[in-house]
């Protein structure tokens, strides 16, 4: 049996003062090849959690293990789509997508460009390769960031609301694409999303977070059969799981008023 892809051991985080932690005692583990979604109110610390897993933010206490090793920054098998896309403004779209492959340094320039072009096609961005980020629409930037994360050979994908700026149809299409890629390659995916339907549709498991301080309210296994199809979205079973998550979220939300 392989080690879990991600183990978060009782992690707390306090940006400013230890008395008002942003995240409190987060404990979770993601199996290899699993797709886990994180949902929770705005500002509860989802992005911070992802940044800690990615190794660029130090937990105030607790520790994180990736594929059995102490986590570090710059893990070749880890890919990240930040919440605000973050393309390099001085690079064209194509060059932005090439970046992870350039950094990996194990492919020649021509293969890199070919792969990048394929990744751009995957997210429906063929034709804008030579534009600069400032010439893109919000959704296009987000898709470019997604293409950049997909282009490498990452074994773990951390996605921070990668579809937030996309219309429903593009979103559906990319959801299916993501599921297909995961089925094909068996990569591990952690996805932060605000769309509960999306969370249920994509995930093996949904982690529901609450706020003040940010903490895990509960984990819900989604036993829907795989491969998932868009048709499932209408079914009562689907609605059941959406409802369960909504209820859990609302508990956490209710909390807030007491503070």
């Amino acid at each position: 049996m392989t080690a879990p892809a991600i183990e978060v051991h009782h992690v707390s985080l306090a940006y400013t003062s230890i008395d008002t932690p942003e995240l409190l005692d987060i404990h979770l583990s993601v199996e290899d090849g699993e797709l886990v979604s994180i949902v929770g109110p705005s500002g509860c610390g989802k992005s911070s959690l992802l940044r800690m897993i990615a190794g660029v933010l130090e937990p105030t206490s607790g520790h994180i293990v990736i594929s059995g090793n102490e986590r570090k920054r710059g893990w070749a098998e880890l890919s990240f789509v930040p919440q605000d896309s973050l393309l390099l403004p001085w690079r064209t779209v194509l060059d932005n997508v090439c970046l992870p492959l350039e950094l990996a340094r194990d492919t020649d320039q021509q293969t890199i460009r070919k792969k990048a072009q394929e990744a751009l096609a995957l997210v429906n961005l063929s034709g804008v390769e030579s534009k600069y980020p400032r010439q893109l629409s919000g959704g296009m930037r987000q898709r470019a960031a997604l293409a950049r994360a997909l282009v490498g050979n990452a074994r773990i994908l951390l996605l921070d609301e990668p579809f937030a700026a996309l219309d429903a149809l593009t979103r559906n299409q990319l959801n299916l694409e993501l599921l297909r890629i995961q089925a094909q390659t068996g990569i591990t995916i952690v996805l932060v999303t605000h769309n509960i339907f999306e969370a249920v549709f994509l995930s093996d498991r949904v982690i529901v977070m609450g706020e003040n301080p940010g903490r895990i309210l509960g984990e819900i296994k989604i036993p829907l059969p795989k491969p998932r199809t868009l048709k499932m979205i209408g079914t009562p079973e689907f609605s059941h799981w959406v409802g369960t998550i909504q209820d859990l979220l609302e508990t956490g939300w209710g909390d807030q008023d007491e503070h």
């Binding site: 710059g74 990240f80 390099l88 001085w90 950094l103």
Partner: protein, 261 residues
């Protein structure tokens, strides 16, 4: 937003203001020169005439020009190859910053030529000391702007590259360099023109060649038109360097639309 110019002389709209400015300058100069003795402020015509004489006698203006050009360029190059690493290490290690800033600033405020004997002992009578002075004066703006540019790097982009497994080297070349280029080029432009001044000041305090020497010679010989020829040549040299840097700027930053000359 940027409609393309249909003119068949695409740079005409840039050249016209420059020409207009030049013409205005010469006109004002001419008017002013009427007010003063020619040995205080010669007229443009007198300077031109002096230039003609200089050329007629096969006198060595070009040689002086190229020597100063070389000194300034060498000094600038020296400043760049020392200032850039320094600003990088000061950026990476605030301790170094605190350790070295007082010296960098201190040296800057000191007229190096007052230490000329030491410079001669260390660097000989030749152009080495001029190159060094040019490098010293060009140094500070390059370090400063290099540091400011680096400090303006978006920390979120840095994080992202770190996650991608970028090495320090990668982060330097793929993030820090392009992101600090606009500010750095400002420092390079200032440093470049200062290196011309530096070379000239070095020549003032002891040299047998170069435009600084020429100006000094003209001063001693009461040859005001020749002083002006020297100054114009220096201004031209500074402008040439500036132009080259502006071009490099456009080449190195294709993602910026440039409006300037």
């Amino acid at each position: 937003m940027n409609t393309k110019r249909n003119s068949s002389y695409p740079h005409l709209h840039k050249v016209i203001p420059v020409m207009a400015g030049l013409a205005g300058f010469v006109a004002i100069w001419h008017l002013l020169s009427n007010l003063y003795e020619p040995f205080i402020l010669p007229s443009p015509a007198e300077v031109a005439e002096r230039y003609r004489v200089l050329l007629d006698n096969h006198q060595p203006l070009a040689r002086h020009f190229w020597i100063t050009c070389f000194e300034a360029l060498a000094g600038f190059t020296l400043a760049v190859i020392t200032a850039l690493p320094l600003s990088y290490y000061m950026y990476r290690h605030p301790f170094l910053d605190q350790l070295l800033t007082p010296f960098v600033v201190g040296i800057q405020a000191v007229p190096i030529v007052a230490l000329a004997p030491l410079l001669v002992i260390w660097f000989g009578f030749g152009i080495t000391s001029k190159i060094l002075i040019a490098a010293l004066v060009a140094f500070f703006p390059i370090v400063t702007n290099g540091l400011v540019g680096l400090k303006e790097t978006d920390p979120r982009l840095r994080e992202l590259l770190q996650i991608m497994g970028a090495s320090r080297r990668d982060i330097f070349f793929k993030l820090e360099v392009p992101s600090s280029l606009p500010v750095l080029f400002g420092g390079l432009k200032v440093g470049m023109t200062l290196s011309v001044i530096g070379a000239v000041v070095g020549e003032f305090s002891g040299a047998g060649k170069g435009l600084g020497y020429l100006v000094n010679l003209a001063r001693g010989n009461f040859d005001t038109p020749l002083i002006f020829i020297g100054l114009i040549a220096l201004a031209g040299l500074g402008l040439g360097f500036y132009l080259i840097l502006s071009l490099l700027e456009q080449i190195f930053m294709p993602w910026k639309k440039k409006s300037m000359l």
